[in-house]
């Protein structure tokens, strides 16, 4: 016998024993990994986990220019505010804005658009207006945008439908007035290296999207082409100043569609500028009770007096992270900056918070301070020699002064993926183990050691091959199930609202958003239940749920990690919702090996998991969202569809093609 060959056999033998140990404990390992991932997530808000922000692009030079927007210039903002308040109709107000911009020496253009809501077929029309101030001596190759929309956004409540239905529009007159006075002020300055575009949009994000499409020359049937253009837009600021005597805080809303974020430098310069100007600065109005940096407390842990401070920071950071990450995951935020990111433009909405009686006088501010912030930011953006530094948009912000980089925030999701992988391996090994039970009996012979070893190796090899062949014989069934569920059910769920709208179009005028939304909701639920029944009955008794479980877990893992590269927050939500129930899903069994002893314990587990899967099913999630945001259900559903139809957000196809079919398959695995 070849000595080398024997050595190799011994080595494989050793590996086999280790593997056998791993196989025994693989499920436990997946639970441990899951727990580790959750604990790791809890460290995110800690002050020790995040780094201090810094300005990556040196050319930005925040706070270097002497600001000339003073109370005198702010007077014009008050004038415009009063004038705009006098104009009740939007048509009149638009004419006023156009006249002011033209008198300032800007060329203006109006763009009209009409967009049909995919769910209700309702037409949304509006007019965007922009004026371009060509930079003195500029070569029209680059531009910056200062934008304002007519209505002041407030999260989901800025939905246009609702405003029209309720009649009272929260108008962003102050924002437009501020924009006009800034246009007049910027006209007198001569240091601009980029053209300045002043944009006033209607219908919120829809208007902004239409304008951007027109500006970038996309032939789009819903919007008029734009003829008055400048060069490539390098940055944008959107102003959102609700009506009020004075403001107590300026909040940044920065999450775009599909988890796109503006360059961190843009937020960094804003944080530094507002700090210098003594303007209270927050992320999404999440107030902080601790000093911006806490550097002293951070170093001195032994002092127990600091613990309270650090805990406070931890709580604030948690709120900030949850707020900003949920905005990033859903793509639903205040302001019109969202569509800009899709056109590779870094944009942020600045929303002011109206001061209440409790706010101290010293903290209050109004047009003059906001104007200074914008002027200073535009000076910095105009300084920009090249583009913003690349790859500075993978970050999470626990506070305006701290960030977590991609290297630090990606491990938990990878660990969760590893937990899924381990769990998948567990059921895979379980699926391939059934023939191995009888293999151990023949090893009792007291032959020569070498030949025993050889025999064992040979048997193992045979076993591997036979299980492999057995797998191939089972696989087509599983494959068929996967295709019908992810492909068939997914497509039906995905296409349902469009089919409904189409059907609605033929049904004359009896169709409303309300009807359609409920049709959609009930339709999809019944489709899922029907699909569940059909697929469950289709899965024959010999159908191997262990193999099915392996495939489903791998698909979930793939989807989570793939999404995490693009939109970390969405991937995290997906992982948090799907990972635990999938990992706790019983490893599965083949029809022949159900032992009656385990059935009792299994039933309880089944019931708990079924309830769990029901709770995280999309209709329930939509319901929770409806309760949480107090937005009417039809509007919420309409919004989700518009997000996909107009802004290309993935949430809707992700639910249709991945999330819901996965839940259906999980139920099949559970009850088979």
């Amino acid at each position: 016998m070849d000595n080398k060959y024997l050595k190799r056999l011994r080595r494989t033998e050793k590996i086999q024993t280790v593997l056998a140990k791993v196989q025994q404990h693989i499920s436990l390992l997946s639970y441990i990994l899951l727990v580790v991932a959750f604990l790791w997530l809890l460290t995110f808000p800690s002050i020790y986990y995040s780094k201090k922000t810094y300005i990556s692009e040196n050319a930005l030079l925040p706070n270097q220019a002497i600001l000339q927007y003073e109370t005198h210039q702010a007077q014009s903002a008050y004038q415009h505010m009063h004038a705009l308040q006098a104009h009740q109709s939007s048509e009149q107000a638009l004419r006023y804005v156009q006249r002011v911009l033209e008198e300032t020496g800007l060329r203006t253009e109006t763009q009209s658009f009409n967009y049909t809501d995919p769910l209700s077929g309702r037409l949304r029309t509006g007019n965007n207006l922009h004026g371009i101030m060509y930079a003195p001596q500029g070569d029209t190759t680059e531009a910056l945008v200062l934008a304002a929309e007519w209505s002041s956004g407030d999260g989901l409540l800025d939905d246009i439908h609702q405003q029209h239905e309720e009649g009272g529009i929260r108008r962003n007159i102050n924002g437009v007035a501020q924009l006009l006075s800034l246009a007049q002020h910027f006209r007198t300055l001569n240091h601009w290296s980029k053209d300045l575009i002043f944009l006033v949009v209607e219908q919120g994000q829809i208007g902004a999207e239409m304008w951007l499409r027109g500006y970038h020359g996309n032939d789009y049937p819903y919007a008029a082409p734009i003829r008055l253009r400048s060069g490539a837009i390098q940055g944008a600021l959107a102003l959102d100043l609700p009506a009020g005597e004075s403001y107590s805080g300026l909040g940044a809303f920065f999450a775009g569609k599909n988890g796109q974020l503006p360059n961190l430098d843009l937020l960094n310069i804003l944080a530094r500028i507002t700090q210098k100007l003594d303007v209270p600065w927050t992320l999404q109005h999440i107030t902080r009770r601790t000093a911006p940096l806490l550097s002293a407390h951070r170093q001195d842990i032994s002092d127990t007096g600091n613990w309270g401070m650090l805990w406070q920071h931890y709580c604030d950071a948690t709120r900030t992270l949850v707020g900003t990450m949920s905005a990033q995951a859903s793509g639903i935020t205040v302001g019109i900056h969202g569509p800009f990111h899709r056109f590779r433009i870094d944009a942020v909405t600045l929303q002011a918070q109206v001061a209440t009686a409790e706010d101290p006088i010293s903290m209050r501010f109004h047009f003059a301070e906001v104007g200074k912030v914008v002027e200073s930011t535009f000076h910095s953006l105009s300084n920009l020699l090249e583009h913003f530094h690349q790859s500075f948009f993978f970050y999470l912000l626990p506070s305006p002064w701290q960030y977590i980089s991609i290297a630090d925030f990606s491990p938990p999701i990878l660990i969760m993926a590893a937990a899924l992988l381990c769990s998948a391996l567990a059921s895979w090994w379980a699926a391939t183990e059934e023939d191995s039970t009888d293999a151990s009996s023949s090893t009792e012979d007291s032959k020569h050691e070498d030949s025993v070893l050889f025999d064992r190796a040979e048997k193992q090899f045979t076993r591997r091959i036979t299980t492999y062949l057995a797998f191939w014989s089972k696989f087509p069934q599983v494959q068929r199930l996967l295709w019908t569920c992810y492909g068939g059910l997914g497509t039906v769920l995905y296409l349902l609202p469009w089919a409904l709208a189409n059907w609605c179009g033929t049904m004359t005028d009896s169709c409303t958003l309300q009807d359609n939304a409920s049709w959609w909701l009930w339709g999809s639920v019944s489709i899922v239940v029907g699909g569940l029944a059909v697929l469950g009955s289709q899965c024959p008794p010999q159908c191997d749920t262990r193999l099915l479980r392996t495939c489903v877990l791998l698909i979930v893992m793939l989807a989570t990690t793939a999404v995490s590269v693009m939109n970390f927050s969405l991937a995290l939500v997906l992982a948090l919702l799907l990972c635990p129930p999938m990992v706790f899903l019983p490893t599965g069994h083949s029809a022949s090996t159900i032992s009656s002893a385990t059935v009792g314990g299994c039933q309880l587990r089944r019931m708990v998991l079924t309830v769990w899967l029901m709770i995280i099913s999309p209709p329930m999630l939509v319901y929770f969202m409806h309760r949480f945001t107090a937005l009417p259900l039809p509007q919420l559903l309409g919004r989700i569809l518009v997000e996909y139809d107009l802004f290309g957000a993935w949430i809707y196809p992700l639910i249709g093609f991945v999330y819901w079919p996965t839940l259906v398959l999980a139920l099949i695995i559970l009850w088979r």
């Binding site: 020496g105 190759t141 490539a232």
Partner: protein
Amino acid sequence: MRFLCPLSITLLGWGLAESSSFPSTSLESDRFTEKLLINPLTTDKVLAHFDFTITSRWHTPEGQEPHHYRLFPRLIGQIIEKFGIREFHLSIGQGRWDYDSWGYPVEPSTSPSLELWTRLETGDDMEDRWQGFTNALSGLFCASLNFVDNTTTSSPLLSFRSPSQLQKLLQDKAEHPTTPEATSPTPSELRHTFLAREGVCTENLTPWIKLLPCQAKSGLTTLLNTYRLFDSSYHSMSIHVHRTCLGESCSKEVWRMRQTLTTVTDRLRLPRQSPALLDTLFDRSLKNTCPLADQSTISVLVPTEGNTFTLQSKPSSWSKAIPIPERKVALFDLKSLVTPNQSFDIDITWPNTWDAHGLSRSSIPLVMHRYVTGQGLERNGLEVHLENRHTQDIPVVYLDTLPWYLNVYFHTLRLEAQPLSAAQQPQVLARANTTTVEPTEMYLQPSHDHGRPAVMEIRFTIPAQSLVTLSVDFDKMFLKYTEHPPDANRGLNVGSAILTAALVSPSTVTPCDYQGLLHPEEQLWRHVRTTTESATVPEVCLTRLYSELFLVSLPTPDFSMPYNVIAFTCTVLAFFFGSMFNSLSRGYVVLSREDVQNTTESPGTAGNTSQKNGDTPVSKSDQKKSQ
């Protein structure tokens, strides 16, 4: 003896067409004129255009007399002679000329970059001479002209022909032979180049001023205050050297060098506005005139209506020679007005009320705008809007030179016309009523990678009162990493497109009007009449319009951490996927002992398997591998 060329009208480039009454005395010696033209464009913007012209016989056509430089700068003369230059036009500008508000410029080249076009005498060593010439100019004007190479140079066939030929080309509908200078006995070839992203600076201005006879010591050049000059909304300096001829039958040929400098001042951005015009614009006043100048004048174009300024000083005369629409021309002859002890200025009053746009949009017959479409690397393309607001069709030649790193798909080239009435209604969403415009003549030169640029030259007619949209798609290519420019990675500028048009009886101030005013003795751009001397032939002005530049940000190598990680893990995953896919996509079967023995007996296989006892499953794929 490069300059020994017989006399012929067609040789003479832009510069002439018909001879005119030129003072006979000046034939003997060099002649220098300095002129300043001031024209309020809008309520806030004032155009000031300096024109210094030297006409010289420094080199006689016959070449019999020795070279004698008097006023004509020897620096230029030697360069011209050494490199066999027939004519050259260099202009460096900064800022955007706003055609819509300001009308047409005095000098047509308004590209906010460096433009050089020249006619070289044809010969074997042309490429060397072109390189030598650009290098010489680079040294002379402190500009980075030495970066001109074959990736930026083009030789347009139609756009830069002589006015008479262009006139014929544009007025006739029929196709023309493409040989540009068919009648010329010593053929010359055109070279045209843009150096986008070349800013003007005092270092360019100083050598430019040095070429003038009086330099900056006296005369109108003393007004060139660099602080004001480089604070203006637009400025452009240029030098044009070409040959022209004098006398009835063009018997005498002379060289003419025009140096011009254009600024547009935004008076609302100035710290103070005095009632004196020169003081407001340049923060200086005139103390003397250049003693070497034969003529030294300031012409102020006073608008007959509109809200600009009113003239208080009494001019030497009101020029009636050239009727200019909506303007009266006040001439100030500085030779008589400027006295040594007293500084000279023009008194005016500025308006108090505001009028945003001096010129209404409709009065400019033809406007061009070029935009780039798409974002990132998605749906990239060009979109050129050509708007004809005139009541007559305008024949044009469109020239665009696109560098090789834009991979232009010429099959996507579209020319669509749309009535202005439909285009201007904002409520019309889709492009309504569009019709395809058929080009009369089209020259498309595809680019070579890392080599020559793509050139498109299209001759077509813009229908009256309509908007023609020219669109073409392109892809951005990868630069080698050494090809990226060394400075901050802002992207690469692409030079302007040029539209050559024959404006028929326009109702606004044209470059021809300005030139007629500055050089009444020589009808530079205008009235190249057809051979039939009929009175009904309309007045035609040939001019060129320059579009905006655009910025291309090419895909850049990004070596930052996240992308490294992504690239690395993707590579690992690709390997993993390969082997996994390989093993998954193979079919495995269990072989019987006979099969195994059969295969081992076959020649060329290792005999290891024959030693084994029992049924040994061997995968077919392994067998295949071992074979």
